[in-house]
Amino acid sequence: MINDIYAVYLRELIRLWRQKVRLVTTIMMPLLWLGVIGSAFNKAFQMPFGGDFLSFLTPGILVMTMVFTSTVSGITTVFDREFGFLKEMLVAPIKRESILIGKMLGGVTQSMLQGVLIVSLAILMGVQFKGIAAIPGMILTMLLVSIAFVSFGLALASKMTSMEGFQMVMSFLIQPMIFLSGAFYPTKMLPTWLKVGVRLNPLTYGVDAMRYFAIGFHEFNVAMDLIILTALSVVLILIGGHLFRKS
């Protein structure tokens, strides 16, 4: 089983390596957010915890980018279906679960690499993280976010047959989720009716946990953040796994 998963994962790694330029190009958007928006508003905003806006924004942008990357990595299964490689794996004497797990690991790897790249850039821009102590918590949160949204992407990919469907999901689900997650501003500033959306949005807790581990600021209970994130991952893995097996 481990060897089967590795075979699937190895292919994902090779593909990732071949597309390494894309890792750099997809960094452009978060770079603009941090470099332009972050720097521009840095002086203008008085943050509630006393820190600067750039440091506040960085964990949010980190989560945003990883959510995008993870979800999009689910696309590879649609590609596989369209271009036939999935069939090659389906007739091989390996379990469906091995294919699923191998693909998930591939997506998580890509998303984690992206995360590390953004953190490195942020450090170069002068963002003050909590030092070495920030690392374990940030990695944990990054992993949970990646796993949850790669599974989400896989679940979508199992149901969808075209790339257009992905655009829909990105515009109507993922983007609103990011805007309502407190990635760009403290959620306290929102009117009450929008706060409901914030509390119902699982991403809110991902951003909150990330921000706590990265710079020490948080709006919710961090233990609760992590429990919600873990529950979300488990549920999405199960749904993704179920839909993938069925398709």
């Binding site: 089967d4 090779i14 593909r15 071949r18 490689f85 090659e88 007739v91 091989a92 004497p93």
Partner: protein, 323 residues
């Protein structure tokens, strides 16, 4: 034991029988062709044998294993080249084979050795480290055949192996399939090209609407419709047919030609000249029956290779584009 045993296999999609009680036995070492027009049920049959689809009813055994109950063992026994391209074109030829070897639990040394062997067999050893993206349609097909053979399966399925390839490349692919015969691999291929089945297969099952309508070697099938075909052009076809029919010939008119089935054409032609002194014969020719004649004989309809609907035509075009 047979390489493949199929008994009363049925596959329904929404109440329509794509495979309708097919029974076949295929021997080890045989090259066996399923021949029929698009939509006859060939690919569905292969998909069931490859454990990708479950049959609605009936049984099938591949290499002695039941395709439903012993799917994993079946998968180890077979190699398959799909109708649609299934290589990862961002990987090199070698990487595609390497991943395949791993998926089939081959040991490291074994993989290395076998990659060399199969690439040599399809004459791609020079391109081992090129990305598949850069390969032509024919090269991709060859690599897919190499991949299908990578784990030394006893049985290889080829689903329309030359679909969308130009005639020259098709000949080339045929040569490789011929080579497999010498290596003792059992090959089950589907095709809707008459000449492909005729050229390659030891035995052919002609399939139409999910049923086997005829089974045998190419020459058996051709003999089964009763000898040769004589075609005559003359100035009065009706009179010719009347004359021939009243003298015990099996004659009919197709496209302003008189078509006569005869056991031994070379002996019958002089008799026809004797009988038809009054009629001006413009040309006369005879040929051994083709598989096309066999198809017409058993199904009562003309065989059209391009007999596909619009949707299929678009799919084909798309397929060609990708090759």
């Amino acid at each position: 034991m047979k390489a493949i045993e199929i008994k009363n296999l049925v596959k329904e999609f929404d109440g329509i029988k794509a495979v309708d009680a097919i029974s076949l036995e295929i021997e080890y070492g045989e090259i066996f062709a399923l021949l029929g027009p698009n939509g006859a049920g060939k690919t569905t049959t292969i998909s069931i044998l490859a454990t990708l689809l479950k049959p609605t009813s009936g049984k099938a055994r591949v290499n002695g294993y039941d395709v439903v109950k012993q799917a994993a063992k079946v998968r180890h026994s077979i190699g398959i080249v799909f109708q649609d391209p299934s290589l990862d074109d961002r990987l090199t030829a070698r990487e595609n084979l390497e991943i395949h070897g791993r998926l089939y639990h081959m040991k490291r040394d074994e993989r290395k050795k076998r990659i060399k062997e199969v690439l040599k067999m399809v004459e791609l050893e020079g391109r081992a480290n090129s990305l598949v993206k850069t390969f032509s349609g024919g090269m991709r097909r060859r690599l897919e055949i190499a991949r299908g053979l990578m784990h030394k399966p006893r049985i290889l399925f080829l689903d329309e192996p030359t679909l969308g390839l130009d005639p020259q490349t098709r000949r080339h692919i045929w040569d490789y399939i011929e080579k497999l015969r010498r290596e003792g691999v059992t090959v089950l291929l589907t095709t809707h090209y008459m000449e492909e089945a005729d050229h390659l297969a030891d035995r052919i099952a002609i399939i139409d609407k999910g049923k086997v309508v005829a089974l045998g070697s190419p020459s058996e099938l051709k003999d089964s419709i009763g000898g040769d075909i004589i075609k005559i052009k003359c100035n009065d076809e009706n009179k010719m047919i009347e004359l021939l029919s009243s003298n015990g010939f099996d004659a009919m008119m197709v496209d302003e030609e008189v078509i006569i089935k005869a056991r031994k054409a070379e002996k019958e032609i002089p008799k026809i000249f004797m009988l038809a002194k009054e009629i001006e014969i413009k040309s006369i020719m005879y040929k051994e029956p083709s598989l096309e004649d066999v198809f017409i004989h058993y199904t009562g309809k003309a065989y059209r290779e391009e007999g596909m609907d619009e949707k299929e035509a678009i799919k084909m075009k798309f397929r060609r584009m990708r090759r």
